[in-house]
């Protein structure tokens, strides 16, 4: 596989503050690659270094194998979709999309053709003469995306472009983005703080926290096999259990043994377990489950597709359980005694 973008030990400091700390990763050609993390984690700074608006304090950036660290933004084969879209208000849709091509002195009839193709790609044919102020939020997003794409960049960079949209429009745009990605095949690097967006769209995700890369992997790996407490909690939320390891199980104070998958764990060592809320079953009686505990429902939220419970266990720890509403005989009431349980492969050991 060809590598399109590579960061080698990139660090960015603003005075004393380290915004990006020794970040390395490689993006393969044609990937939908996401930088995911809470606000202030350094993901936008990383993106701005790839696009050339910030220069790394240390480390190097390669795009298509060429060193790019000191190349100005207008000479890089990347194009950026800005967080606030940054569509030029004094130009119409056509002039906005044609801007990059005109700079490159592409012949005018070629420009006409490519802009038309692009507007068809985002299903806005005939929008050439519209003013930017006449576009709806979703239309602006699409124009901003094709204004970057029309230049056929090696890499398309997207800086939380769906942020200001409402939920329904955002879901629409996620589908739209995936379709555009499929049709053009360009490498996408997508910055977001929304784990849902990242999981849905990405081929690969880099999770960042406090300027550092904490995990790189496919959405499934990130979700199912978090390597740290931060990732386990940030992606979808989780329940933690801490206890000492003794042959095939973890002994949690006041709760008892939680059996886990066999692995090379050292006896008597304290382990942290993560159990995702939707991996936990809840019921009056549970069968065929490896770990079963008693608990009391303290809160329940009916959410249509699922029901979320807060369950108090015997060791006074509160866990979150998400049960599908499908096949449920009823919603458990507050104060009701229940049993909760999960299989041993669903309790992930976090090292």
């Amino acid at each position: 596989m060809k590598i399109d973008v590579e960061l080698k030990n990139v660090t960015k400091k603003y005075g004393e503050i380290v915004a990006v700390d020794d970040v390395s990763f490689a993006v393969e050609r044609g990937q939908f690659f996401s930088l995911l993390g809470p606000s202030g984690c350094g993901k936008t700074t990383t993106l701005r270094m790839i696009s050339g608006f910030e220069t790394p304090t240390e480390g190097e950036i390669f795009i298509e194998g060429k060193p790019m660290t000191n190349v100005p933004p207008f000479k890089r084969p990347t194009n950026l979709v800005f967080q606030n879209l940054a569509l030029f208000p004094h130009m119409n849709v056509f002039d906005n999309i044609a801007f990059g091509l005109r700079i490159k002195k592409v012949p005018e009839n070629e420009i006409q053709k490519r802009v038309k193709e692009m507007l068809e790609l985002v299903r806005l044919p005939g929008y050439e003469k519209r003013k930017i102020s006449q576009l709806s939020g979703g239309e602006k997003q699409r124009i901003a995306i094709v204004r970057a794409l029309v230049n056929r960049p090696a890499v398309l960079l997207l800086d939380e472009p769906l942020g200001p949209l409402d939920l329904k429009l955002r879901e629409e745009m996620i589908v739209e983005l995936k379709r555009i990605k499929r049709e053009v095949g360009t490498t996408f690097i997508y910055v977001t703080h929304d784990q849902g967006e990242a999981l849905t769209m990405s081929d690969k995700i880099v999770v960042m926290n406090k300027g550092k890369v904490v995990q790189i992997g496919t959405p499934m790996e990130i979700y199912e096999k978090p390597k740290s407490k931060f990732v386990a909690d940030f992606i979808g939320g989780t329940n933690f259990f801490e206890g000492k390891y003794t042959d095939g199980a973890v002994e949690v104070d006041g709760l008892g043994k939680i059996s886990i998958e066999s692995g090379a764990h050292v006896s008597k060592k304290t382990l942290l377990l993560s159990v995702k809320p939707e991996k936990i079953c809840i019921g009056k009686k549970l069968k065929k489950v490896d770990n079963i505990f008693d608990g009391k429902v303290t809160e329940s939220f009916y959410q249509g597709r699922a029901i979320t419970y807060k369950v108090l266990l015997e060791n006074d720890s509160l866990i979150t359980v998400v049960a599908p509403s499908y096949g449920m005989e009823r919603v458990f009431g507050i104060g009701e005694k229940v049993k909760v349980g999960w299989n041993k492969e669903d309790a992930r050991v976090i090292t």
């Binding site: 207008f74 967080q83 940054a86 030029f88 208000p89």
Partner: protein
């Protein structure tokens, strides 16, 4: 309730008379046989004819145009630089600079004028149109800079970054993005600078040599040769008409640049 309405009407009508009647009467008198009421032999163009014959009158209008033109050009360029620097960059002594920039706005013209005059004379400069231009630029700089500063504050920097990301170098970005977007500010600054120079009597009277701007020409005639005052009624009417045409043109340009 009715009583207060009558009171309001009186105050407002008084204000309107105070504001509008002088120039209306001036306009009527410029078409009258003599600068007095009641009207006699009305309308006549004899003062307008006399104006074109009168030595120095038309030259002074041309001088005014030149002075205001140069002042506008320099003040707007300096205003763009200053506004950009104040909003987009940091430099040592920014607050000192801002203070210095605002100071000419609160110092009476007479003080700035005589200070500048004595200073320029000491440097060996003779009073001329150039000294007037120097003074007018000083008057216009704070206004031009303030107008453009507020325009730059409202400017979204990612628009420039977007242009650079799409392949435009700094110069192209400035030409195609920055300049068009601050154009309304530039036009407002230009109108302000032009008016400041075009209208000014005090600074120009202090700094003028043998070449005079129109207001200086009028001032010296009024105070020294009162019998030629009727000619000035014609002159100021022409200048008024010119200023109105200019104002309309600039308004049009402003609207054009916004759309």
């Amino acid at each position: 309730m009715k009583k207060t309405n009558i009171l309001w009407s009186i105050v407002v009508i008084f204000a309107i008379i105070l504001a509008f009647s002088p120039i209306t009467i001036l306009f009527l008198l410029s078409l009258n046989d003599s600068p007095a009421l009641p009207l006699k032999n009305f309308p006549t163009t004899k003062w307008y004819e006399a104006l074109f014959q009168f030595p120095g009158a038309m030259e002074s209008i041309v001088n005014s145009l030149m002075v205001a033109g140069v002042t506008t050009l320099v003040a707007v360029v300096l205003g763009i630089c200053g506004g950009y620097a104040l909003v987009r960059t940091r430099f040592v002594g920014k607050s000192f600079f801002t203070g210095l920039l605002l100071m000419p706005m609160v110092v009476p013209y007479i003080i700035m004028g005589i200070s500048l005059l004595s200073f320029l004379l000491r440097l060996g400069m003779e009073p001329s149109l150039i000294t007037i231009i120097i003074g007018h630029i000083l008057l216009a700089i704070p206004y031009a800079t303030l107008v453009l500063t507020s325009r730059f504050i409202g400017f979204n920097i990612s628009l420039e970054e977007a242009a650079m990301d799409l392949g435009a170098d700094r110069l192209t970005t400035f030409r195609k993005i920055t300049l068009p977007l601050i154009m309304p500010g530039i036009i407002t600054a230009a109108i302000l600078s032009f008016i400041i120079s075009w209208e000014d009597v005090a600074m120009a009277v202090l700094l003028a040599g043998s070449q005079q701007t129109a207001p200086v020409f009028m001032f010296s005639l009024v105070t020294k040769l009162p019998k030629f005052v009727p000619i000035l009624t014609a002159m100021s009417t022409i200048m008024f008409a010119f200023a109105i045409v200019l104002a309309i043109l600039m308004r049009k340009a402003e609207r054009f640049s916004i759309s």
